[in-house]
């Protein structure tokens, strides 16, 4: 079992709104590990679009993403890549 935390910076223009949060939750849900996201002391479930949106994370926000489970590493890589690609949203590149 591995528990890993990584700090990731949101790069897309409008931050963690509906679509990015949805894509984040969808990506996290592909893995068995537990995923938690922390911003400014708020910790929420990483597999919930609603919870992620409540973080009010805008562009430039640093998220502490913690994955706990056998596939934690893969999961975090996947999420980091998604954030790095600015969620593939053409208008927010």
């Amino acid at each position: 079992m591995a528990k890993i935390t990584r700090e990731l910076t949101l790069l897309n223009k409008y931050g963690m709104h509906v679509r990015p949060a949805g894509l984040f939750a969808k990506t996290a849900s592909k893995y068995d590990c537990d995923v938690e996201v922390e911003k400014d002391g708020n910790v929420v479930a990483g597999k919930s679009i609603m919870a992620l949106m409540t973080l009010e994370a805008s562009c430039g926000a640093v998220l502490k993403v913690t994955a706990d489970g056998d596939d934690a590493e893969e999961c975090l890589d996947d999420i980091a890549a998604l954030i790095g690609r600015k969620f593939d949203i053409p208008d927010e590149q």
Binding site: V18, G22, A45, M50, M53, G60, D77, R85, P90
Partner: protein, 590 residues
């Protein structure tokens, strides 16, 4: 007559009768306690409603995708589907029903209400607006539970200006577009759903009008100015005449780019080439409509990032071939510049990039390619093979020194030899160039140029490395200054060096898309600006108002600061210069 000012949300003008839409903000819901032992049934009622709404949303998404492939509308409802299915929300509502025996309707309202409160407290307006998404999902669930019709419909029979408190995405998207002249809403902002969709649909929209719904009656005549952000109720003769003049001018502006003149043409007939930046995975069908003269930056690394691993040679070849064939349709002198794998830094792929203490100064891009020659060779082979199908240029990202160009040339020669041996065709004159984005390469441009058929300046990294400031870090973002004197000097040096060496030089960083900055690069010697396609029409409009002499004057102005001015002061002065030369600049900017 009454004129109300709101927010200029989607540009354009509309004149017509009011359709006053009251919506159904309040679906009356009574709360009661479910009899003991029936909570399981009540929970099943909620689950069935979730299923019904889910199917409705899925079919709506399918319809929208059919109408507009890859469009934004459908994405909104994909988000709603996820909200509907959100595990935390479902658990919350389920607990209310099963543990507190609250009826399903009230449980839905309470469960969603809890999140709504959190959103309403947010400081960021863009996030606050997302309450509308919750409203939309809530209404769908309530209608399903109460057996109401699936959604309230706006019944339009003639072209109207829709006046409403605010509109949910469902309401906006289902409108017959040909009958909607414009939107005017009490609430909302420039980032609300009605705003985003109005802009996507090209319909004028004014939001944040306060109590406009109380000031109009159905059928009343209004003038809506989405560019100025006003609505005029019961206009008098003078207002009507002024508006007619505005409409005439708008038509002129729209017609402006339809005269067949190539994007980037100057007032005196001169030409600045405008190309598009694209990446695989995003459709490039619209490039022609936007006026792109070619593709100045094809970000090949997205083949890696999208797939999470290295794509094999065939996959790469197919992708490069597709874009090479596409650019043929953009003109006789069109081509695509494929950037070799630009990975590392903030672009990581598991199994390829490794964790580094300082990734932006680490094994990135050409450095990585030279450290894994197999990967490099496979990419070069794929690009060379594709060059038999259309005009391609190859550029190496993050070049810092001559050694890298030499080493890359060795690999290129080897890849060509392999293809020759196998009898595979490729463009034998394929131009190879360097991206200039590391200050060392900029300073040493003359030597690097000896190994290049062209330069492409990546200003994002060049500014970041010159100023040693990460622009995504709020604390230091102010140091990321595109027109800092140091950046200007480097840019001038690179552009002049390329011009003197007789090789074309383009700028493909984000700064190229800002008319104030991009046009400065052009005035200083850039032959081509490459930018996101959506910025091309604006750049084209500004350029056609300037002559080559204006550009020379602009260059002298911008390079003339020599009294300790800051980067921000220079940028400000340049913006003012441009506004003086192109007085309608702010109108073009919408």
């Amino acid at each position: 007559m009454l004129t109300i000012a709101g927010l200029a949300t989607a540009r354009g003008l509309a004149e017509g009768p009011v359709y006053l839409y009251r919506g159904d903000d309040d679906i009356p819901v009574s709360e009661y306690v479910v009899p003991q032992g029936r909570e399981g049934d009540e929970f099943m009622r909620y689950k069935k409603a979730v299923g019904d709404v889910g199917r409705d949303l899925e079919s709506l998404i399918a319809v929208l995708n059919e109408r507009n492939k890859g469009g934004e509308d459908a994405k909104v409802f994909e988000g709603h589907l996820m909200i509907l299915e959100d595990p935390i929300l479902k658990k919350e509502i389920g607990k209310l029903i099963v543990e507190q025996r609250v009826n399903a309707e009230a449980a839905v309202k309470k469960g969603i209400g809890k999140f709504r409160k959190q959103f309403e407290r947010m400081n960021d307006e863009y996030f606050r607006e997302r309450v509308r998404d919750l409203d939309d999902v809530e209404r769908r669930l309530l209608r399903a539970l109460l057996g109401f019709a699936k959604s309230s419909r706006l019944e339009l029979t003639e072209p109207c200006v829709i006046v409403a408190d605010d509109l949910t995405p469902s309401e906006t998207v289902q409108l017959p577009r040909h009958l909607v002249l414009g939107f005017a809403t009490n609430g909302g902002s420039t980032t609300s759903h009605v705003a985003l969709l109005a802009r996507a649909m090209g319909i004028p929209c004014v939001t944040g009008l306060g109590f406009v719904t109380q000031k109009v009656k159905p059928g009343m005549r209004v003038l809506l100015d989405g560019t100025a952000g006003t609505i005029t109720v019961n206009p008098d003769e003078q207002a009507l005449a002024d508006f007619a003049e505005l409409v005439r001018r708008q038509h002129e502006s729209e017609a402006e780019l339809k005269d067949g003149l190539k994007a980037g043409t100057l007032k005196d007939g001169g030409q600045v080439r405008i190309f598009a930046n694209i990446h695989p995975g995003v459709a490039f069908g619209a490039l022609k409509d936007m006026g792109a003269g070619g593709v100045g930056l094809y970000r090949s690394e997205y083949l890696w990032l999208n797939g999470g691993k290295e794509p094999d040679e065939e996959t790469q070849f197919e992708a490069y071939k597709a874009v090479a064939e596409y650019v043929k349709g953009l003109g006789d002198d069109a081509y695509v510049t494929i950037r070799a794998l630009d990975i590392g830094g903030d672009k990581t792929v598991r199994g390829i990039t490794v964790k580094e203490a300082n990734p932006f100064l680490g094994n990135r891009s050409i450095r990585y390619l030279l450290s894994d020659r197999e990967v490099f060779r496979r990419q070069l082979r794929a690009i060379l093979r594709a060059s038999a199908f259309g005009r391609i240029q190859i550029m190496y990202p993050m070049v810092s020194c001559v050694e890298e160009m030499r080493e890359a040339a060795v690999e290129m020669a080897e890849a060509r030899r392999e293809l020759d041996e196998q009898g595979i065709a490729y463009d034998r004159d394929i131009p190879v160039g360097a991206m200039i984005e590391v200050p060392a390469a900029a300073i040493n441009a003359k030597a690097i140029a000896k190994y290049c058929k062209f330069f492409s300046i990546g200003t994002n990294d060049l500014i970041q490395y010159t100023m040693a400031a990460d622009r995504s870090n709020e604390e230091v973002a102010h140091l990321y200054q595109p027109l800092n004197p140091a950046v200007l000097k480097l840019m001038q040096h690179v552009l002049e060096t390329a011009n003197a060496a007789g090789i074309p030089v383009s700028v493909c960083g984000e700064s190229a898309s800002d008319p104030v900055i991009g046009i400065l690069w052009a005035s200083m010697g850039a032959d081509m600006l490459s930018m996101s396609a959506t910025y091309i029409p604006l750049m084209a409009k500004v350029l056609r108002r300037l002559t080559r002499r204006d550009l020379d004057e602009y260059k002298a102005f911008a390079l003339g600061f020599d009294n300790g001015e800051t980067g921000d002061e220079i940028l400000d002065a340049c913006r003012k210069w441009m506004e003086r030369k192109v007085p309608e600049l702010d109108k073009l900017l919408i």
